[in-house]
């Protein structure tokens, strides 16, 4: 998937984030402030609702005294920076081997059917964006979907669809294992639908 910058009128850090920004910058020794580029991009991405507009890249690189192309390189290198707007819920379905063996393909297919969107697309109501990601490090409870900052584990087609319905209705959902197991403790027989 080719990434390209989407332009956005202007970008300014909010007052609250400006304080955080000063805090972030002081973490680096004098003259090494350019290293703050990743946390600042993250801060900007959060402020913009999950994506990083070109104007934010320009603003931050200028702030750090870097040529804008350096920031653009960083933003395109790391896949967790979204250079296009994403929905309120960014569904990141893990597609790496353990999750795939535990049914992530089914999750993807069910989600695509349910929301009528392809990978990398956003629903018309702006609620959901679906993407496939590589291993997010929760293989023990595969298959896993990361929605914004939270992991939802031990999913099945049915439980994933229910999760989406709940999110759509604005219900509060619980992060973690949907079958309620603690950490990655061995599941009780019959807990998991596939067994």
């Amino acid at each position: 998937m080719k990434k390209s910058v989407t332009h956005y009128e202007t970008f300014e850090f909010s007052e609250k984030n400006k304080k955080k920004l000063t805090d972030i910058l002081t973490r680096y020794p004098e003259g090494r402030q350019a290293s703050a580029i990743l946390p600042l991009f993250e801060l900007a991405q959060r402020q913009c609702g999950g994506w990083l507009p070109g104007s934010a890249i320009e603003k931050i690189t200028q702030m750090l005294g870097l040529p804008v192309i350096r920031g653009y390189e960083v933003a395109t290198f790391y896949t967790m920076f979204n250079l296009k707007p994403v929905g309120k819920y960014h569904l990141q379905v893990c597609g790496t081997t353990p999750c795939m063996l535990r049914g992530s393909e089914d999750l993807k297919a069910a989600c695509q059917k349910k929301l009528s969107i392809g990978l990398g697309e956003t629903t018309k109501d702006g609620l959901f964006t679906l993407s496939e990601v590589e291993c997010i490090g929760a293989c023990v409870n595969a298959p896993v979907v990361q929605i914004n900052d939270d992991f939802y584990e031990d999913l099945t087609k049915e439980s994933f669809i229910k999760l989406l319905d709940d999110l759509k209705e604005g219900k509060k959902v619980k992060a973690g294992s949907v079958i309620g197991r603690q950490g990655s403790a061995p599941e009780k027989k019959g807990d998991h639908a596939q067994e």
């Binding site: 990434k3 910058v5 040529p67 804008v68 350096r70 390189e73 395109t76 290198f77």
Partner: protein, 690 residues
């Protein structure tokens, strides 16, 4: 000083030398793509793998420093297999389009594939496709061919100082490109074409024009500025197909400016290819050489010698200059001048008009004060050296003159010449920096030297040089520099092509022409003067382009451009260099000194030389410097300059359009496109910033 063994040969190298460089010293060739001797080390192509004893894996020789006791093998089966593997991966996504690729025949990938490539591909899937980028009017891109060596990115960052290129995405999605698609805003961008090891970046003006094996190359000297870059003129038949740099560590290293490289298409337009003389109808008509000479002879006969003047342009070879000087002496005219831009220097000792530090010497400096100059446009390769020093040692640079982005941090002191006096008196903050510097240098540009108070400024500069120890007595350091922008200037000054005691300079010649004190003017390639004041004067224009000078001429004598004659030039450092004739001049045009020699017959003063060797002997007779080619003869430090008051008028920029400064580049289509796209962009940005 580590000692190591490469392929059973022992070598001792300096600290910091890499295994690859050590191997090169032994004459062992190691294939590379990303390594370039003038750029930082990336180590990402992996083509230079070699075997090191006690290492389980092959090592990248370009990035591995040589250390004591290393034993390296470069020709083992393991090395060959490793390189074959690397190459096979590189070729996975490289298109098989050599037959339609401009790099074909001079392509590193093609050559190395001959040595390490397989006979067929084992990759059965589709190759990736990458959209081409628009990098401006000079660089053609075919990004499918890119192997991600990142040489172009490093060149832009390091040498050119315009960090505009980068690698976006990662893994299979990596692409070389810019943030916003636009022309590279560098005067050195053409060098990216040379350093690209594949056909991803090729020359746009030269695209599909020829193949390297059809071209014959002639070593020559560049005349678009006073740096005197070593160039190679590639020709096919009678046409100049392209111009490339030659390596010259003393002058241009591996690079040349875009004007030197791409302005050659100006040689094909608006050329003077036969003599013309003005008829009774006031228009120029084609005439024979004899007729043209007779018209001149008829006019000159009736004039006293001091009613005739001569001006030499910026691209003239010294052979023609000495011939014209001898002719004007024979006529008895003191009104000769080579400083068509109105510069006021040249009478003092040689050190008063040379770039004494030398170009390579810039690397030693620890402080640089620029006065009335924009080296980025007046001498891009000198600017590249200053930047090199800035990168290596953090050279601090201050600029007194019109502000301009130079590609390295510059402390701008303002453009008020009175600051110069303050610096001398030690009342300016920069004085302290000058004082504490061990090898300070100052560069005076033409912006400071064509003012009316130029000689006072020169005198001030001399005093500053004395006060701040810019010229050392004990060691050979001389930090006093004049930066010329005309290729012919230093040569002409060395030959004394200057007004004699009662002689007129350029501005007085033009004034005299309006007052009828000067009735005939001989312009030898001089186009950058105010020709409107010559409307009613008898003007002989000798040159290669129908430009400003020819527009007011009564007689036009077609001369040769720099590619069409063997000439001697002296660069701003005072280095005497020789170029060779690459193609014949068009039509009836002749080499310039021959035209003057032939004219002298018609005027009745036969000049005493009949061959190029004779003229060159005459050059040596006039100034023995011309006997020593390609060397620097140190100029002794003597008194020069005048006392007086400095005018308050600010220093002005001398070049406002880098791409169109002379009769050749003004007629180049490529340069016109550059001026529009690159410079246009920059100016728009500046206006925007303001």
């Amino acid at each position: 000083m580590p000692k190591l063994i490469i392929d059973d040969q022992e070598i001792e190298v300096e600290n910091g030398v890499t295994v690859l460089q050590a191997a090169e010293m032994l004459g062992i060739e190691i294939p590379v793509f990303c390594y370039h001797p003038k750029l930082s080390i990336a180590g990402n192509c992996r083509m230079c793998l070699v075997q090191m004893e006690k290492s389980p894996k092959p090592i990248a020789s370009c990035a591995m420093p040589a250390t004591e006791g290393m034993v390296i093998h470069t020709q083992t089966p393991m090395v060959k297999k490793a390189r074959q593997g690397v190459l096979e991966f590189l070729l996975i996504n490289h298109p098989l389009d050599c037959p339609i690729c401009d790099q074909g025949g001079e392509c590193d990938l093609q050559d190395i594939t001959m040595a390490y490539g397989g006979d067929s591909s084992r990759f059965g899937l589709n190759k990736r496709a990458v959209p081409d980028k628009d990098l401006g009017p000079l660089i053609e891109t075919a990004m499918n061919r890119c192997i991600h060596c990142t040489r172009c990115i490093r060149f832009a960052n390091e040498i050119a100082g315009v960090p505009e290129l980068g690698a976006t995405g990662r893994g299979e999605h990596m692409e070389i490109g810019t943030y916003i698609e636009k022309a590279i805003t560098s005067e050195l961008s053409g060098n990216m074409i040379d350093i690209c090891p594949v056909g991803a970046l090729t020359s746009k003006p030269y695209s599909f024009q020829g193949r390297p094996w059809e071209l014959s190359s002639t070593p020559s000297v560049d005349v678009f500025d006073a740096v005197g870059c070593a160039i190679r003129i590639d020709t096919r038949g009678r046409e100049v197909m392209r111009i490339l740099p030659r390596q010259s560590f003393q002058i241009n290293e591996d690079w040349i400016s875009d004007k030197s490289r791409f302005a050659y298409d100006g040689l094909k337009y608006q050329r003077l290819d036969r003599p013309y003389a003005k008829g009774k109808d006031g228009r120029l008509h084609p005439v024979s050489w004899d007729e043209a000479f007779n018209v001149i002879a008829d006019h000159f006969q009736h004039l006293p010698g001091d009613h005739i003047a001569a001006i030499v342009g910026d691209m003239v070879d010294t052979e023609a200059i000495v011939a014209l000087k001898d002719l004007m002496n024979a006529i008895g005219s003191p009104h000769i001048d080579c400083r068509q831009d109105g510069s006021k220097i040249g009478y003092g000792p040689r050190s008063s008009y040379l770039f004494n530090t030398t170009i390579a010497g810039i690397e030693k400096a620890d402080f640089c004060l620029l006065i009335g100059t924009n080296p980025r446009w007046e001498a891009p390769l000198i600017n590249a050296r200053i930047r090199k020093n800035y990168l290596n040692t953090g050279l601090s640079v201050a600029l007194l003159g019109a502000p301009h982005e130079l590609g390295y941090p510059v402390e701008h002191l303002g453009d008020d010449p009175l600051i110069f006096e303050k610096i001398l008196k030690g009342r300016h903050p920069i004085s302290a920096a000058l004082k504490s510097a061990k090898f300070p240098m100052l560069i005076l540009g033409q912006g400071a030297l064509k003012r009316n108070d130029a000689e006072v400024i020169l005198g001030l500069a001399h005093k500053i040089a004395d006060k701040y120890n810019i010229v050392h007595q004990s060691d050979p350091w001389n930090g006093f520099n004049i930066l010329h922008s005309a290729a012919s200037r230093v040569g002409a000054l060395d030959l004394g092509f200057l007004p004699g005691p009662q002689g007129y300079g350029v501005s007085e010649i033009l004034k005299g022409a309006a007052q009828k004190k000067i009735e005939a003017v001989y312009l030898l390639g001089a186009d950058d003067i105010d020709v409107s004041s010559l409307e009613s004067t008898f003007v002989v224009y000798q040159g290669h382009h129908g430009d400003r000078g020819a527009s007011v001429a009564d007689v036009v004598l077609p001369g040769s451009a720099y590619t069409e004659k063997s000439g001697t030039y002296v660069n701003t450092e005072g280095r005497v260099q020789r170029s060779f004739k690459a193609v014949s001049p068009p039509g009836e045009a002749k080499e310039d000194w021959k035209i003057i020699r032939a004219l002298s017959d018609h005027l009745g003063f036969e000049l005493p030389y009949d061959s190029l060797n004779d003229v060159r002997a005459r050059l040596v007779e006039v100034n023995s410097l011309f006997d020593e080619l390609d060397t620097i003869q140190k100029a002794s430090w003597e008194d020069f300059g005048k006392e007086g008051t400095v005018l308050s008028e600010p220093f002005k920029a001398t070049i406002d359009n880098f791409y169109m400064t002379d009769s050749i580049s003004r007629h180049s289509v490529t340069m016109a496109k550059c001026a529009q796209e690159i410079q246009g962009d920059e100016q728009r940005n500046q206006i925007h910033e303001k």
